[in-house]
């Protein structure tokens, strides 16, 4: 509606005509302060409403200054509002996303999987775990009940959790582990027990078993990221360069001399090339060790055909491609410790170590 109409409809015409006469001036005042035409229009209307409401109270002749002040106030209060709005806008954001339509379904699957995984634990494991996690019973009182120590109960709980994670993943992926080695490997990975992982040769199993390679992803991500270990998947000869540079970088942190770093890099280059040449794919793991002494250990694994005669392969000049036949024996000379384990049809693992410091 326009102000003029509303003014016209009033019965007492005198003061309203005065107000109507003010409109062009008010428009000028407000438009000088507000850019947006629509907003300016709104503010003019608002000012008019206020002036009209007060018109009866205002002394004759004072209506114009009154209207001017009112217009300014209206603009100022709009600015104030805008400012407050800007300052508080971040509070308005709704951080909770709306529930996705499949949420119920997923939650249900999740519940079923956890329940199924729980049912695969032994009764005792389940009872202890639930008492601790759900009922909040502490390890000491659990230990008292079981006639054990708090430390032992905590360790047992850790093992149970590790098992629960593995069973949960198996249920969720809806697979049975294809070999009898799968469970121990997954358990060792889930528990983050590096000694156990070595015992069951987890690295090799993950190269061989697709199911475990897939299932172990979340378990590996769980593990604390280690900055003293690098894992390089090997498949092309560009990876040879990547592996030897990674080894050099990691070993440099131990304070190896430049010469020794080059020895290590050369040895890594040789064994990694064997993977590319003979096996196609594999992985190289470089890790820093501190027992029995500080040093760098390189493990090169592949799932290739295996070496028929390891003794001969370690002899100088034995070569099955047109190399110098220096690969394995050369690498052995460059490092302090060197071991090759090869199984026909299953692959080869080369483990070599260079100790840091005095020999």
């Amino acid at each position: 509606m326009s102000a003029a109409e509303s003014v016209g409809m009033r019965e007492d015409r005198r003061p309203h005509d005065d107000v109507a006469a003010l409109i062009p001036m008010l428009r000028r005042i407000i438009e000088a302060r507000v850019d947006d035409a629509a907003t300016a229009d709104d503010l003019v209307q608002e000012t008019l409403v206020r002036v009209l409401a007060a018109a009866a109270r205002v002394e004759p002749g004072m209506l114009e200054p009154y209207a001017i002040v009112t217009a300014r106030n209206v603009v100022a209060s709009m600015w104030r509002d805008q400012d407050r709005h800007r300052r508080n806008q971040h509070r308005v954001v709704d951080l909770d996303l709306p529930d996705p339509p499949d949420q119920d379904l997923l939650a249900n699957e999740e519940r079923t999987a956890v329940a199924e995984a729980l049912s695969r634990l032994t009764d005792r494991e389940r009872a202890t775990l639930l008492a601790h996690e759900v009922s909040g019973q502490d390890t000491r009182s659990l230990a008292a009940e079981q006639g054990s120590t708090a430390g032992a109960v905590a360790a047992q709980l850790n093992r149970t959790r590790a098992r629960l994670r593995v069973e949960y993943l198996l249920v969720q992926a809806n697979v049975e582990p294809p070999t009898e080695r799968c469970r121990p490997v997954l358990l060792a990975l889930s528990g983050g027990d590096r000694r156990r992982q070595r015992e069951v040769d987890a690295g090799r199993h993950l190269l061989e078993c697709d199911v475990c390679a897939r299932l172990s992803q979340p378990l590996m991500e769980r593990a604390q990221p280690r900055d003293d270990e690098v894992r390089i998947p090997i498949s092309t000869d560009a990876d040879i360069v990547a592996a030897r540079q990674a080894a050099r970088e990691l070993a440099a942190r131990l304070g190896f001399a430049r010469t020794e770093l080059t020895l290590i890099a050369t040895a890594v280059s040789e064994v990694t090339r064997n993977i590319v040449r003979f096996a196609g794919t594999g992985e190289v793991v470089v890790e820093l060790v501190d027992r029995p002494r500080r040093g760098v250990q390189v493990t090169a694994r592949d799932t290739g055909p295996g070496i028929p005669d390891v003794e001969r392969a370690l002899t100088d000049g034995y070569s099955t491609y047109s190399g110098l036949g220096l690969g394995l024996p050369g690498a052995r000379r460059l490092m302090d410790e060197f071991a090759v384990v090869s199984e026909m049809g299953r692959g080869t693992t080369v483990t070599m170590t260079k100790w840091c410091g005095e020999r």
Binding site: I240, R244, T259, T262, L263, A265, L326
Partner: protein, 132 residues
């Protein structure tokens, strides 16, 4: 090949100066070999200096490729000298048990060029008019 050049082969008179700028993998090494042999023919080069100062490692494959290159160059009528083998790389090569005897080497580019220019060596001039 995209990105910065891994290897540059410059021509100076009848010599080629090949510099490796970064660690090369096997494929790049073989490409470099082919490139160099091709250029020896194209520029009728009589001497080649290969600067390997930027190589972090000269393993058995790298060393064998260099030796093959030198031998191929020799068969194409050019003499090769390898320069810039870093001390630690040299140590690793010896420790590895590599036989590195047959290819002439020099400390750096300057020495390498001096070697090619030695009396009785392959001088910087172009090949005889019979060939050109």
């Amino acid at each position: 090949m995209t990105g910065p050049k891994l290897v540059s082969i410059l021509r100076q008179g009848s010599w080629l100066i090949a510099s490796i700028h970064t660690a090369l993998d096997d494929t790049q090494m073989v490409l470099f070999q082919q490139d160099l042999i091709e250029q020896i023919g194209r520029y009728r080069s009589r001497g080649v200096v290969i600067d390997v100062a930027a190589l972090d490692v000269l393993d058995s494959f790298g060393a064998r490729t260099l030796r093959t290159m030198a031998e191929m160059a020799r068969l194409r009528g050019a003499e090769t000298v390898i320069v810039g083998i870093q001390p630690d790389v040299a140590f690793a090569m010896v420790s590895l048990g590599m036989d590195t005897g047959s290819v002439p080497t020099a400390l750096d580019l300057e020495e390498g060029l001096a070697y090619l220019a030695r009396p009785g060596g392959r001088g910087p001039g172009h090949r005889g008019s019979a060939a050109g």
